[in-house]
Structures are given as C-alpha cells and as structure tokens.
Symmetry: C2
Subunit: 340 residues, 2 copies
Amino acid sequence: MSVDYKLYDLGDFRLQRGATLRGAKLAYKTFGTLSPAKDNAIVYPTWYSGQHPDNEWLIGKGMALDPDKYFIVIPNMLGNGLSSSPSNTPEPYNASRFPQITAYDNVRAQHQLVTEHFGITKLPLVTGWSMGALQTFHWGAMYPDMVERIAPFCGSAKCSRHNFVFLEGVKAALTADAAFNNGWYGDKKPEKGLRAMARVYAGWGFSQAFYRQELDLKALGYSSLEDFLVAFWEGFFLPKDANNLLTMLWTWQNGDISDNELYNGDFRKALGAIKAKAYVMPGRTDLYFPPEDSEFEVAHMPNAKLIVFESVWGHFAGGPGTSPVDVKFLDEKLKELLNS
Amino acid sequence: MSVDYKLYDLGDFRLQRGATLRGAKLAYKTFGTLSPAKDNAIVYPTWYSGQHPDNEWLIGKGMALDPDKYFIVIPNMLGNGLSSSPSNTPEPYNASRFPQITAYDNVRAQHQLVTEHFGITKLPLVTGWSMGALQTFHWGAMYPDMVERIAPFCGSAKCSRHNFVFLEGVKAALTADAAFNNGWYGDKKPEKGLRAMARVYAGWGFSQAFYRQELDLKALGYSSLEDFLVAFWEGFFLPKDANNLLTMLWTWQNGDISDNELYNGDFRKALGAIKAKAYVMPGRTDLYFPPEDSEFEVAHMPNAKLIVFESVWGHFAGGPGTSPVDVKFLDEKLKELLNS
C-alpha cells in the first residue's frame, strides 16, 4: 500500500501532563500549494478515531477548501494510529503505557509543523469537525494573533460533563471485555469490546429523529437496523486499535482550551481571548454537542457567530460527508467566512 | 427480612412467544381497600429493573394515589426478580433459558390478577413510569372497555428505533464481560459488565442540561461526577441479576401495543382503540422517550392529551421521586385526571 501522507519529526516532545514522547511523529497530508507569501494555509485537524482520508470530503475544486486557492494541511491527531500512537510507539511508551495527550499537546505539535516546517505565520482559517473542532478552538485560544478565522463544527471548546459521561459509557463497554486485558491484548484484539463500544456509540451518533425517519435505511441504504449496527458501526470500530481509541478518548474527555498556563482554567477568559472571526456551528440534534454549549461559547467570544445545522443527522450533520444537504450548508458557510 | 408483597399463582401461563411458564408467579403489593363496588382500583406497574417499593413515592395520603380513597395495585413486572424471573424460576426455564416475555404477557397476567383474584371489572386509572408507561398503554389497548383513564409518563406505546439502539448499547456493555458467560454465571455475577452497563445508562438517564447544571451535585448531593457514576449508577445496577435485566430489556425492546392478535401490527389502529381518557406525559429532555413520539401517539388516540414535563431531569422527570418539582406536577395532573 502506498502511503499518502508525510511524517514530521517533532523530536523529543514534552507533553503537558509530564511525559516526553521521544522521537514523536506528526503524520500529515497537504493539498494545494503554499503561496510565496505563505498566506493561504488552512489547518484542518482530524476527529475522534478518524485519519486524514476521513477529512477529505470537505476539500475539492470549487468548494470552500479549494486546493487551487488554499494550502490545506490535515494533521493527524496524536493517538490516531498514524501520528505517534499506542499502536506505533516503541517500548517503553507503547500500548497502554502511551502517555496522556491533551488537545493542547496536539495543537502545539501542529503549530510546530506549521511554523517551523512550513514557515507559516498567519492562518486564514482553522476548521474541524467534532474533536477537530476541539483542536480548532485550541488554535484560536493558544495562537490568537496567528489565526484569522475559525470554524469549529459539531464540537466544543471544553468537554461538557454530559459529554464526559457519554464517553465513560463508551470506555466502560470497550474495557469490559476481558480480552482487553488492561491494554496488553497484543495481536488478539478485544473484538467483543470494540463491537460493544460501537453499539453504545450508535445511539449517540445519530439523533432520535434520524432513527425515527429510518434514514439509516432510506438515506444510507442499509438493509435493516441490525445491518446498520453491524456494517456501519461495528465495521467502523473493529479495525481500530483499542489503546489508540482510549488515548483519543482521554484527550476528548480532558479537552478544555483554558486548561493550560495561558488561562489557568479560566474558561471565559480563554474564550474571550480568541480574536479570530469565528463561525461556531453545532448541530440542532447533536446529542453530545448540543447547541446550548455552543451558545455559551459564542456569548463569551468577542468575534463569533452561532450558526446551527438545522438537521436531524445528529452529530453527523457535520461530517464526515454523510449528509449531503448539511455538507452543502457547511461549505457555503465556510465560503462566506473565508470571503469575509 | 419480612416480605411486604404477595404472590399470585398464574398457573401454567402460556406466553405470547410460545413458551409456557409453569407455576408462574405474579408478585404484587396493594395499598388501601377495595370498595364494596370494586370501583376504586388503580393499577400501577413497575419500570425497568424496578420493584414495587420503587413505585411507592407516588402513593400517599393527600396525593392523587391516596390509599384512603383508592385501592392501588402494584404488580411487579415478570423478570424483575420478584415475579417469575430468570433468577427465581426452577429448571429448565431458569437463568438464561428464561423465556421471552412481552409487555402483552405482563398485562395479561396483571389482568388475570385484577379480574380473577380481585373480581374487578372497571379500573378508574392505570398509570406508570417508563416501562410502567409501556404497560399502561397496553392496558388501554388490550382492555379498552375496562380502563377508564390512563396516565403513561416518560414512556411509549411502542419502543422507538432509537430507543432500541440505546438499549443495544446497554446490552452490549453488560454482555461484553466474559464473566457473563452467556448467562450461566451462577453465583459469580458479571460485575464488570454490570458496572459498564451502569455507565452507559448514566448518559441516557439524565439530560445534557441536568449535567450542565450539576444537579448530580447540587440537587442530589453527590460529591463529584465520579461519585455519582459509582454510588448512584453502579450502585443501582450492581445488586441486580444480569439475566433478569436482559429479560426486561428484551420486553422493552419488543414493546408494541399492536404486536398481538388484536391489532396485527397496526400501530395506529391500536392507538385508536384506546378509549380511556389519557394524559400522555413525556419529559421535555428525556433522551429516549422524546416528546415527539408521544405527540404521534396522542394524535392517533381518540381521547388523549399531551402534557409535557418542562424539566431538565431527562427521563427522571417522571420518577422515581427523584425530582420533587416534577413529582408535584405529576401528582397534580393525576388528581386532575382522576377528578375528570
């Protein structure tokens, strides 16, 4: 299999929680050409368990993220299996000894790539779905003078308590499988746990209305509800590495733009420090990133606008290209933001 | 320990799905006195995993369900550990061989108790929370000439597809534990699975707003979110029998007032056949019984009114006495209904 991404060497990367990831790697893929003035770069981080190919649905000729106009960088999240992760890190930090990674760590690594490797000093836009939105908010709060616009969609600047609890359920289902063996499952993956986790996720990912309208059958073409649970949900999580999933889950649960030396836990202050023009885009029926949390964020950001996906697709209103109507809406809003 | 309930012998009880539960028992408790005219009985079925003491918060002097006025019967659901259940049924139908039980079976058993044992022919009210509401709807549809009023709260007449998926997650988490051993765990209960199931449930039981407002701490008095997850949620499910939980879960997932010889799957017809004056009461923020499903039901019932708990307590707006404001609201509505 040919590899369609590059690895950036982060060196000995000191993490926010104390560990050092020696020889840490950031996997990334770029689209388009960096302009001579280096003023056309867009950073577009990945989401929970996703990798850069899972982000490509938002990039294309004639779309807001047009590679003819922009230099688009997709950095893979630490822990996602391509950047440094439990599954690809040598001893002693391998598998379940892989250190805790924060969104702050991720964005600092991405910043290193963007500035030191590419020499970029201004970003017209950072955008992302879900945990990509979490990283997008971090970009705005950590580098307010560098980021001109942000468009976090279906995500939040801080993991809400309810979202945390939803993830506790996902984690408990995965780790209830004895085959998980505290992360030391080697080549024998915890299949039962991965399938259980998928079934837990299934109720959260799409809304009550999505299921009521049978869009799993009528829009996505599955042959029955059980087929959707097996083929879509179990099929999605089964190939993933359990320790990788748990690393990213921890990152998500501990996401908070103010949990660092810049803001010392003052969430309002961190939101207030985001200078970027922001389109904050929650989904009306997103069960773990409900619009109310976005409203709070927008109310405390100096230059932000709340734009809601009026969609029954739940969390999947925002990605990954699953709902065509919502993709179109998102693309139009991104164009509007980029042209402003 | 003294026993505060009675056992009614259902005899050899033929179940809707084909098995016969020989010597089946229905555990029940009554409050108040049956009038000489036998016209003051209220049936008030239990909810998922609940037993009759878990229903008592809605009964009391001066309340709608006043034992000075009414003869209140709480029948325990089959599978709940007191009525015939996997945990108390002798071989060969014990443990994971316990047969599939429908809500139809439950209500037919309750009807037998009420008519044959007590000689009651009219019921001024049937009411219940959650799966108790499911049984309430069944009473209305199965015995339309006997039931004068129904008040199903935070429940539905048919398990929605989304609700089904939520329960798939609960089930998958419980059964991912190898100790579950396909239900043959004997005395060594699947503790990890029960705890996992509890964590999955935690995100569904209360709403996003409940957690956002920290009502687990501020209203319920837990010392931290983790304390709430362990003490409230894990503490709730750990003492329960896993096979019992799965029996009731199957009953829930397959709940449908029209899935019987009376209506042959015609849900609208079954709703239309409910003659009882009905107060259908969903919770505004209930994540698995959203008001939209109740709206559909009410629209197809001849004599029903939709009354929504405007509450952030999610599913727990309706029970079990957890939210005092909502209990007061419910009690007032029940009084209004009983006096009409």
